[in-house]
């Protein structure tokens, strides 16, 4: 019978310290990589240009169709959702792109793997810069939106209690999703962009980022309601606006308006726990298959 080896408390403490150290160094590294090509102001401007451009697309679509028939509530839905969605993109892409970056461009992934550094804290640290940029982007977008566009928001309506709660749960859930995409990236070649960007693009269709899910055909609605991000965006919209945005769609109460705050909270707690647990297991599983196939350091060169 083989011996069962229990980790001593000292070892566990050592592992935690090692993970924290890896996370700290990787965060610094991620920040350097994101920002060291320009001075801080230029870097900041370039960082928000893409999400600003994405918001501008929505503003122009709205402008093209609204004419004299303005729909401020619909516009607020569009704009607030899109602002929060930038965080979804930045988090998922931030983690998944790290694998591509380190493996294909810097060719350092193999050295990370052969060092004592813990890979999951490393990925989280490396992705942190993009996540922080996403948060700053949200603030800037909302500022621009409130100043320049006819949005139906007020400071007094913001639900300051729910907002941080939904936010933290959502970030845990998104980090989990990012880790799943990072695992997939470990086994796929580079194809123009990253698998994270592709999934983020698909999420745009399903998760009610630009429109209530009621607008979608029934069969797509079923997919939307199985996507955790749908609920998180609903939570962030509610907490930001202090109410359900677009509660009525084509004369009927929207699906999201029928979910209470506590119910929404339960769903988000479940999604956060499930996402993080599954993602860590999934990453380890895929990593094992990648090592067996010998592709940890294989460059696509395509």
């Amino acid at each position: 019978m083989s011996a069962i080896i229990h980790d001593s408390p000292k070892k566990v403490a050592g592992d935690v310290a090692e993970s924290l150290r890896t996370f700290k160094v990787a965060s610094w590294l991620g920040w350097q990589i994101e920002s060291n090509w320009a001075d801080p102001f230029a870097f900041f401007v370039f960082s928000i240009m893409r999400p600003l451009g994405a918001s501008l697309i929505l503003v122009l679509i709205y402008g093209a169709v609204s004419g004299n028939n303005s729909q401020p509530e619909a516009f607020t839905y569009l704009y607030v959702s899109n602002a929060w969605f930038t965080l979804v993109v930045n988090t998922i892409v931030g983690l998944s792109w790290t694998i591509i970056d380190e493996r294909e461009f810097y060719k350092m992934l193999k050295y990370v793997y052969t060092s004592p550094a813990r890979i999951i804290p490393f990925l989280m640290g490396r992705g942190l810069a993009k996540i922080v940029i996403g948060m700053l982007t949200f603030v800037v977008l909302m500022g621009i939106g409130i100043i320049f566009f006819p949005m139906t928001l007020s400071w007094g309506a913001v639900q300051w209690g729910w907002l941080p709660l939904y936010f933290v749960l959502g970030m845990i859930m998104l980090v989990g999703l990012g880790l799943i995409m990072a695992a997939v990236s470990l086994r796929t070649a580079r194809h123009g962009g990253s698998i994270g960007e592709i999934v983020a693009g698909l999420l745009l269709l399903f998760c009610g980022a630009y429109y209530p899910v009621d607008v979608l055909p029934d069969w797509i609605q079923k997919i939307s309601l199985a996507v955790p991000v749908t609920y998180w965006l609903e939570g962030m919209r509610r907490a930001t606006a202090g109410r359900v945005l677009a509660p009525v769609v084509k004369g009927h109460p929207s699906i999201m308006s029928q979910i209470g705050d506590l119910q929404l909270l339960s769903i988000l707690v479940f999604c956060a726990v499930a996402s993080l647990s599954f993602s860590i297991w999934f990453y380890k599983f895929v990593e094992r298959t990648a090592k067996e196939a010998g592709v940890i350091d294989k460059v696509s060169n395509y």
Binding site: V299, S300, N301, Y302
Partner: protein, 368 residues
């Protein structure tokens, strides 16, 4: 012709050794490369602290007035530590970089004013090169580059096939470049250098990353190509002293942007040791016979020590000139002694390098 080269390669070893023994200078030929007082400086941006102190920019001198001449038909070596200015000099000669001062001519053409014509006559292969279109096959990659030099496709394909055979890459001709190992890529890039049939070829550490067998193929092919095409010139940079010693007709040692010495490997070694030294293992000589050896005309000094097992002596002769060794051997055999071994001792190129540069290449790597 490349077919002749393939056959000649098999005989290359014997010819290489024979050539290495020859020290007589080649007759003067047309200059393939002429570098006259070439300098290159860079303006380095300073940080904010230095700017506050009133310093606008720093001037970095990569090359400070380098002059060299390489004759047509020479295999010329350029040795120097990292940061010496070798790459800067090569970039100037290959029209990639404009000199800050001086003139560089390749095949009689000014590298600045007649750059396009220069490019038609040259090619370059850098060591550790992993460049190439991953999505193309080896053959296709080489074909693409041949088109940039204006080769007829049919001629190019024939040359490609021949070159791939020589570097033992013919079984990978149809493989995608993305699937090649580093050594295979380097061999492919080596072929790229020759497929355009350049008049002057620049090899920047061409055997870097190659295994012993592949490196030998590359060296042998370079030498044989030059023998088959006496009007071609190769400028080689390398960190492998043995490679430079065995391949190069002449070597320039460069450091801190200046040429410290330029001569044949033998002459460079002779700088350190003017008189030849030979070690001879002998048996069958007694004490008085040994004492007579220093009196042989031309012998400067003799030292001896007993061989292991008491089977004779190891004698070290310092003589005035190489032909004297003949008289020494004759005297030993006339006295009834038998020659067990004979070896010429001379300083290595690394000894010369250390003497001139002040440190070895391996020490430099260790310091880093």
């Amino acid at each position: 012709m490349l077919e002749d080269t393939t056959v000649a390669l098999a005989q290359g070893e014997a010819q290489t050794q024979e050539a290495a023994m020859t020290t007589s200078p080649k007759p003067a030929r047309k200059l393939a490369i002429k570098v006259e007082n070439v300098s290159r400086t860079y303006n380095i941006k300073v940080d904010k602290k230095a700017k506050k102190e009133g310093k606008e920019s720093k001037l970095l001198t990569a090359l400070g007035g380098v002059s060299l001449e390489v004759e047509e038909g020479e295999l010329f070596g350029l040795l120097g530590p990292n940061g010496a200015g070798k790459t800067t000099l090569i970039k100037i000669m290959t029209t990639l970089l404009a000199p800050s001062g001086g003139v560089a001519m390749v095949d009689g053409l000014d590298v600045v004013k007649e750059a396009t014509e220069v490019r038609r006559r040259i090619n370059m292969v850098s060591g550790g090169e992993t460049s190439g279109y991953g999505i193309l096959t080896v053959r296709e990659n080489l074909w693409v580059w041949s088109q940039f030099y204006g080769l007829d496709s049919k001629v190019a394909r024939q040359r490609i096939d021949e070159l791939l055979k020589i570097v033992e890459l013919e079984d990978k001709a149809g493989a995608l470049v993305s699937g090649l190992s580093t050594g295979q890529r380097q061999r492919m890039n080596f072929c790229r250098g020759f497929v355009t049939d350049p008049k002057v070829l620049f090899l920047d550490e061409p055997t870097l990353g190659l295994d012993v067998h592949a490196a030998r193929i590359v060296r042998d092919f370079t030498q044989t190509w030059m023998k088959q095409n006496p009007d071609r010139t190769v400028l080689l940079t390398t960190h492998y002293m043995a490679e430079a010693d065995s391949l190069c007709d002449r070597i320039a040692i460069i450091d801190h942007g200046a040429v410290l010495a330029c001569d044949t490997p033998s002459n460079l070694k002779r700088m350190l040791q003017k008189q030849p030294v030979f070690e001879i293992g002998v048996a069958g000589l007694n004490g008085s016979q040994l004492e007579a050896l220093p009196r042989i005309p031309g012998v400067v000094r003799v030292s001896s020590e007993s061989r292991e097992g008491g089977s004779g002596y190891n004698l070290k002769f310092i003589i005035e000139a190489e032909p004297v060794i003949g008289a020494v051997v004759s005297e030993i055999t006339a006295q009834g002694g038998s020659i067990l071994s004979l070896q010429k001792n001379e300083p290595t190129l690394e000894d010369v390098f250390i003497k001139l540069v002040g440190r070895s290449l391996s020490a430099e790597d260790k310091e880093k």
